[in-house]
Symmetry: C2
Subunit: 669 residues, 2 copies
């Protein structure tokens, strides 16, 4: 899927879109759905597996009785969260996103908590989606098996390259695979249901196996309850991505909020239908998913052993439903893999966008806000990719392991945002007098309060069931990010205070004299240009300066200076230790110490070359000198460039600043 | 041995030695010998082993008959080479070194060949000496065995750290271990000889074993000759380091050349005596050294197996000679290990010095010449250490494997230098009329010619016997270095030609007007200072410029500008795509295009901060803008620094430029 990320950008923003032309590119619902929903919809590719696998720890019978309960619970949470975010969409048509909602209503610390959580979850979205995509691909591409980590890392590297290059494609490239995935899963569901009721449904490949409880997983009350909660937690992965639409409201066609709310509802319905049909078909076809298939699955009472290949739930269902239509199996596998890659790509867009918003607010290096520079954007992409690759390697691309870290961030974000929304309505109710409006607000507040309570409950369940299994690492990462971003903010505030001018006390004073010195090592074009420019600036005093490192060279320089009759005095600074920087620094300081109200302008000839390796061969002394001079008060450093032939055309190789972009989803229009 | 490298520097140069005080630190012979000879003398720690091991491939009988022949051949080469270099010392009291001799007499390509060869051999000196030191240490420190690579890498890292930090020590720290090593080896020889002639010499631990020829190593004429030549090649490792004294002549007390020649003779004699006594004692005590000891050594007709621990020749001899005086064994092992580390350290001095000379001549980045900067020196140390570590890891710290790559460089250097000396005398003879002088020169020319022939013969032997075994990699590295350095030289020449002024044609023209623009984003102290400095420079035209990325921010900037009554017009550059760099570039170009003889001065306020991480958070836009502006003709870029509080004291953290040093050995006084 080359370039889906940039396509995203292009769809929303275009390559060279002027601020005043933005209206033209607003999204109809049929395009907004695939763009914003790929993350949420793709989670049905792994959520059912995780539900079945967790329950399966207590054996096949436990799965049969409880998988529906878990599904109903997940659907209930989904309904509540979707209903809650429909309120967000109406209240923050600016596409505020959870970060803005939390910051505005609960203060900067809450906003920063949400931001840390979301940044960590973006990384996990990439790791989980890609790992699941690779697992799904292994259903039809047998050679992938055993090389999951390498394939996953290669896929992340591929996405990174695509996003770094910013390849652009047409809108259909994004919409087609998402609709194809919906078609595949829902089509499989409908066809499977028909087969079931006509009695022609082929049993799953694992239907004939017995699922044995894992060692030590007794069915005592507490253990069973814990397992149910763990299965529920994993199933809640289906909710990730729900917030995406609420962030993207400004990108919708008018009426924005209504369209966004409708799309949100549509997405929720699709998720619920797909999840439900997969779980139902799984029960009917007898799909068995085990945590440790080789030991837990029995054939005629004997463990199937490590040679057994366990396909994903979707893979097994496709094999059953399309038993007589193999093209269907391949189609389901391909589109499932594709939508998972698209979901990962969503994070490649979201992560830098959130980074840009955080940079605007001073929590990340400021240059990340001014997205005018591709480098900053690239850094975001590289950090995301690097972190995801580390996770994939450490957790061996196993979805079941990675999912233990996932969702914490999403539910931290959900909960904080919904609490913020309750505050929002409470505050608005204080001002609103219109009875009808008040009734609407009160209804919204109740919905958000229920959403907050539900999200908080899920968060507690997730924390309890997953903390030890891995969530602790995710929480640690969030805490580190939180502290880091707070530190950056504090630094910027300190600098701002230090730089602020107290106009009552101080008025900038004009320096009385300008001493210009031109650093000379040889008589050639760059130094002559520096001298000419320095003279054109008409300083109060002007002299050329050279450091006597090698007496012979110094003498020949002096001779040439006289011979060429250069109309500027050349001062020789002695350097008994043959240093270059220090004599010049000492000289500059000596000028200043005599005349503290004067300033010293140091002219440095610089070569401009085309190639990076050429740069290594030049300018090093000048750079070092400049770095030291900047520490000296009352000094200006003037670079007088000389463009060598090799620099011609090299400037064209510089990557042009792309327009500041991607802020739409962040609501920063 | 902490700081022996810097001690070297300190002995020769001192920490803050002024050029005019250099005379005070000249070396008496008793200090010059240990300083310059550690490399050459230390090779007797591994050369005997390699001779015995190579001959041993053809079995014990072959060793017994031929080891003396090989030793005599090596001693013969040593005598010739020492005699030849005594000529160099007299002819080039400047301490020219082989690089200078080759360049002056045979042209730059020959000099560059020598330089490439020496750079590669410095790396191998470190790898071989350290590996041998570790092997020797294993004789008394059993726990080192099996961890040779890690210990060797750790030792190189230690030397690197010491040389990077530049710890200084007293001269004795260098002289003591070298004299101790001489004492140990010669003492062991004398004591062993006494024991032999009194019939009390204990047989070596391997004396009771039989050395079986290696599989497939028949004793046909050609195979035997080849083995003899290989053994001879490996034995010639004893000659590495002979050239060190000829490089160091200027560091000797007067009469410099005579003292240096005497020291050279002393060193050669010591080497010969030590090598001869080790081989002789080895024969008398029955030391067996095998390439594959587990299979080649037989006890009662059975291979001793892989559990057999083969100690070095010096280690085995010490065990025999000091059988009743265990302190002697420990002493020999320790001083052998120490002198090998000192030998490696020699390369840590020589490599950057040679790099500095090459940089002076334009073959390496120029900033490596101006040793004023410790960074360049550090880079040399790091490159040397990195390359040596790679070699140690790849060749598993095995001296026998590494020695196959060694010596090629030394003999390329010997041969080229001696041919150059022949040319030198021939040229001088053309001018010299004094008959006595002519006779002396002709005698010298004959000695150098013999030296050249001998070196060339050894080089051919080394190439034939070692090419396939590893020398090819060393040669490849030399070729790569040669091509690289030639490319750098060509680049510098091209730039020099491009920058040269043709005074008949061109006279630098003074620009007619100076347009100054000050880049403003906010009204705070740094921008006000930039504005004040720009005004003090009294340009023809002055305006402040801001880029309209965010209309609200721009408006509030304009308001403040008016409110504060700032006496410079503020121009707002529109930026429809919210870029920063491009609008300013376009504006600067538009000024220039109207007035090509004018120049534009762009004032950039820069923050100066104390911590590197603070730098990341600031100045990025300014740096990017500056980088682009430098490509634009007719532009000066002025950095106006604002020192933030955190920068106070940070300048003191900068490493001070050390004096340009180390050139003494390179003869660049």
């Amino acid at each position: 899927m080359p370039g889906t990320g940039s396509l995203f950008k292009r769809l929303l923003l275009g390559r060279a879109m002027r601020s005043d032309k933005l209206g033209e590119t607003l999204l109809p619902k049929r395009l907004a759905l695939p763009i914003f929903a790929s993350d949420a919809l793709s989670s049905v590719a792994y959520a059912p597996d995780e539900i079945l696998l967790m329950l399966g720890l207590a054996g096949g019978a436990f799965v049969a009785t409880h998988s529906w309960q878990i599904t109903v619970a997940v659907v209930l949470v989904m309904v509540v969260v979707v209903a809650s975010y429909r309120q967000n969409v109406h209240a923050y048509p600016s596409g505020g996103g959870d970060y803005e909602v939390a910051t505005v209503n609960l203060g900067p610390r809450a906003g920063l908590t949400v931001a840390s959580a979301l940044l960590v979850d973006y990384v996990l979205t990439v790791a989980v989606s890609i790992s699941s995509g690779v697992q799904n691909a292994a259903t039809v591409l047998g050679f992938v098996r055993g090389h999951e980590v390498i394939v996953a890392v290669a896929l992340i590297a591929f996405l990174t390259a695509m996003n770094l290059r910013g390849v652009r494609e047409s809108g259909k490239a994004f919409a087609v695979p998402v609709y194809a995935f919906m078609l595949a899963i829902i089509g499989m569901g409908v066809y499977g249901f028909v087969q079931h009721f006509t009695g022609t449904l082929t049993p799953a490949e694992s239907a004939g196996l017995t699922l044995k409880p894992e060692e030590g997983q007794g069915l005592t009350g507490i253990a069973a309850a814990f397992l149910l909660l763990r299965a529920f937690s994993s199933g809640c992965a289906a909710l990730t991505g729900v917030e995406a639409i609420s962030n993207g409201v400004p990108a919708f066609k008018k009426p924005k909020s209504d369209n966004a709310a409708t799309t949100l509802l549509l997405m929720g319905t699709l998720s619920v239908v797909m999840l439900g049909s997969i779980i139902t078909l799984g029960q009917w076809t007898g799909v068995k998913i085990a945590d440790d298939p080789g030991a837990q699955l029995l054939r005629n009472g004997q463990p199937v052993g490590d040679s057994y290949v366990q396909h994903t739930a979707i893979g097994q269902l496709a094999e059953s439903v399309f038993a007589h239509f193999p093209v269907g199996v391949v189609f389901v596998s391909i589109v499932t893999g594709l939508i998972l890659v698209l979901a990962a790509n969503t994070a490649f867009n979201g992560f830098p966008v959130l980074g840009s918003i955080l940079a605007r607010d001073g929590y990340l290096p400021r240059q990340m806000h001014t997205r005018g520079d591709r480098l900053a954007f690239s850094n975001g992409i590289l950090i995301l990719a690097g972190a995801a690759i580390v996770l994939v390697i450490v957790f061996k691309a196993e979805v079941t392991a990675l999912i233990q870290l996932y969702i914490v961030g999403v539910f931290v974000s959900f909960t904080t945002s919904q609490i913020g929304m309750v505050r929002h309505w409470t505050r608005n109710l204080r001002l609103e007098r219109n009875a009808k409006e008040r009734a609407r607000m009160q209804r919204s507040r109740i919905i958000n309060a229920v959403g907050a309570a539900m999200s908080a409950t899920v968060l507690v369940v997730v924390l309890i069931t997953k903390f030890q299994a891995g969530a602790k690492y995710a929480i640690l990462a969030m805490v580190v990010l939180f502290v880091l971003m707070l530190g950056i903010k504090k630094h910027y505030n300190r600098v701002r205070d230090e730089l602020a001018i107290d106009w009552d006390v101080e008025r900038p004073m004009l320096p009385s004299h300008v001493h210009a010195i031109v650093c000379i090592s040889k008589v050639h074009k760059p130094t002559m240009r520096a001298l000419a420019y320095a003279r054109a600036s008409r300083p109060s005093y002007l002299e050329a300066v050279t450091v006597d490192v090698d007496p012979d060279e110094t003498q020949s320089l002096l001779d040439e200076w006289d011979r060429r009759d250069i109309p500027v005095p050349l001062k020789v600074l002695s350097s008994p230790y043959r240093q270059i920087t220090k004599p010049i620094l000492d000289y500059v300081r000596s000028i200043r110490s005599g005349n503290p109200r004067d300033i010293v302008t140091v002219y440095l000839p610089e070569y401009v070359l085309g190639k990076w390796w050429e740069q290594i061969l030049h300018n090093q002394s000048a750079l070092r000198l400049k770095a030291r001079l900047l520490f000296t008060p009352g000094v200006m450093v003037v670079s007088v460039p000389w463009q060598l032939q090799s620099s011609e055309g090299a400037e064209r190789d510089w990557i042009d600043e792309p327009p500041i972009s991607g802020s739409v989803r962040g609501g920063a229009l």
